[in-house]
């Protein structure tokens, strides 16, 4: 008996130039906001972009983007709907507002299922909004998606950075590229996270401020892209992520 689904994942991503997993060891550091704003910014800059919310038990990118009642179209697979030109895939199309309490094996199955039936077609970049930690989703991406690179988000907290260290060690062990570390919610002038990041041999991409206007911009894509958070992130993208 063979699970046939994983045999087509490489083919489904054959026309995706770049896959970037926005990841962190801890929850609550702003991964989803960075991932969604990054995807929107790249799309606004004219690139063909997809965003895949892999945080199955705590999806939130749909709220940031305000995707409303959108659903994938069914045509020889699932075609992700577009939000301002950005292709977006999420478990919420099927779980709605209800909880999806999944164990590891179920998370893996859902990930493999959606990767095997979602037709992203031609993309310059697919951004993955990862769940926190280095569990099933990270291991499955490492197993099935190549080429793949990671963009790691932390806060100025040593607690968050401690988990970043573990993630960096894992990714280096398996030889997966790390674009760099973004320090989110920065409130004070300090070089500590930059120093710690560089001591791991990883690029410090920059800091995003603790932006009090961000909460009001959730669900309003135009307003979101005008926030200080988004403008700073766009600067980091210009310097580090453009092809």
């Amino acid at each position: 008996m063979v699970d046939p689904r994983s045999h087509v994942i490489a083919r489904r991503l054959a026309h995706v130039a770049r896959v970037i997993a926005v990841s962190s060891g801890k929850g609550g550091v702003g991964k989803s906001l960075v991932a969604a704003t990054l995807a929107l910014s790249l799309s606004r800059d004219g690139l063909r972009v997809g965003l895949f919310d892999l945080d199955f038990t705590g999806p939130s990118a749909h709220i940031i983007l305000n995707t409303g009642e959108l659903k994938p179209k069914e045509d020889k697979g699932l075609i992700p709907p577009e939000v301002d030109g950005l292709k977006f895939m999420s478990i919420v199309y099927y779980s709605g507002v209800n909880p999806a309490p999944l164990r590891g094996v179920d998370t893996s199955n859902a990930l493999i299922e959606l990767f095997s039936v979602t037709l992203w077609n031609n993309l310059d970049c697919l951004i993955i909004d990862m769940p926190p930690g280095i569990g099933d989703a990270v291991l499955d991406l490492l197993r099935f998606v190549n080429p793949l690179s990671f963009l790691i988000v932390t806060t100025p907290s040593k607690l968050a950075f401690e988990t970043v260290k573990k993630q960096v060690v894992l990714l280096k062990e398996v030889g997966t590229p790390i674009i760099g570390v973004i320090e989110n919610m920065k409130m004070t002038v300090s070089d500590e996270i930059r120093t710690l990041t560089e001591s791991l041999g990883v690029k410090y991409l920059g800091a995003l401020p603790y932006d009090t206007e961000l909460e009001d911009a959730l669900g309003n894509r135009k307003k979101l892209l005008k926030t200080l958070f988004a403008r700073k992130l766009h600067g980091i993208i210009q310097e580090n992520l453009k092809p």
Binding site: M1, V2, D3, P4, R5, H7, V8, R11, F56, P72, E74, D75, K76, G77, L78, I91, Y93, Y94, S95, G96, N98, P99, A100, P101, L102, R103, D106, T107, N109, A110, E113, L114, S116, V117, L119
Partner: protein, 132 residues
Amino acid sequence: MHEWALAETVIAAASSIAAEQGFSRITEVTVRVGQLQQVERGILRFALLQLKPAGFENTRFRIISAKTKLKCRVCGYEWLFQKRRLSPDVAEAIHFLPEVAHTYIKCPRCGSPDFEVIQGRGIWLETVKGVK
């Protein structure tokens, strides 16, 4: 035609197995489909016949339906999945992503969503037969 994408997975996996086994012609492919995913067997068969590549010209596709057996991790109760108990919207959601069964189905005895799909989740490639 979500089944089309699933048929592509079967052809890709069967082709890979046939290459490993050194088959020049594939005579029979057996696919098991779990009831939880509610795959339309007619559409799946049609897609398989449309997709078949070189070496599959005379392949017989056998599609076997498997009952879905669920087991509660909390109280140990075992039961069979029954589509007729679901609303059309919920059945469709589970068709596209079987794992959302954990969103909509609870253990009939204790009400827990923490159950295991013991058998019959979705699509499996059972056997690939061919000649060298």
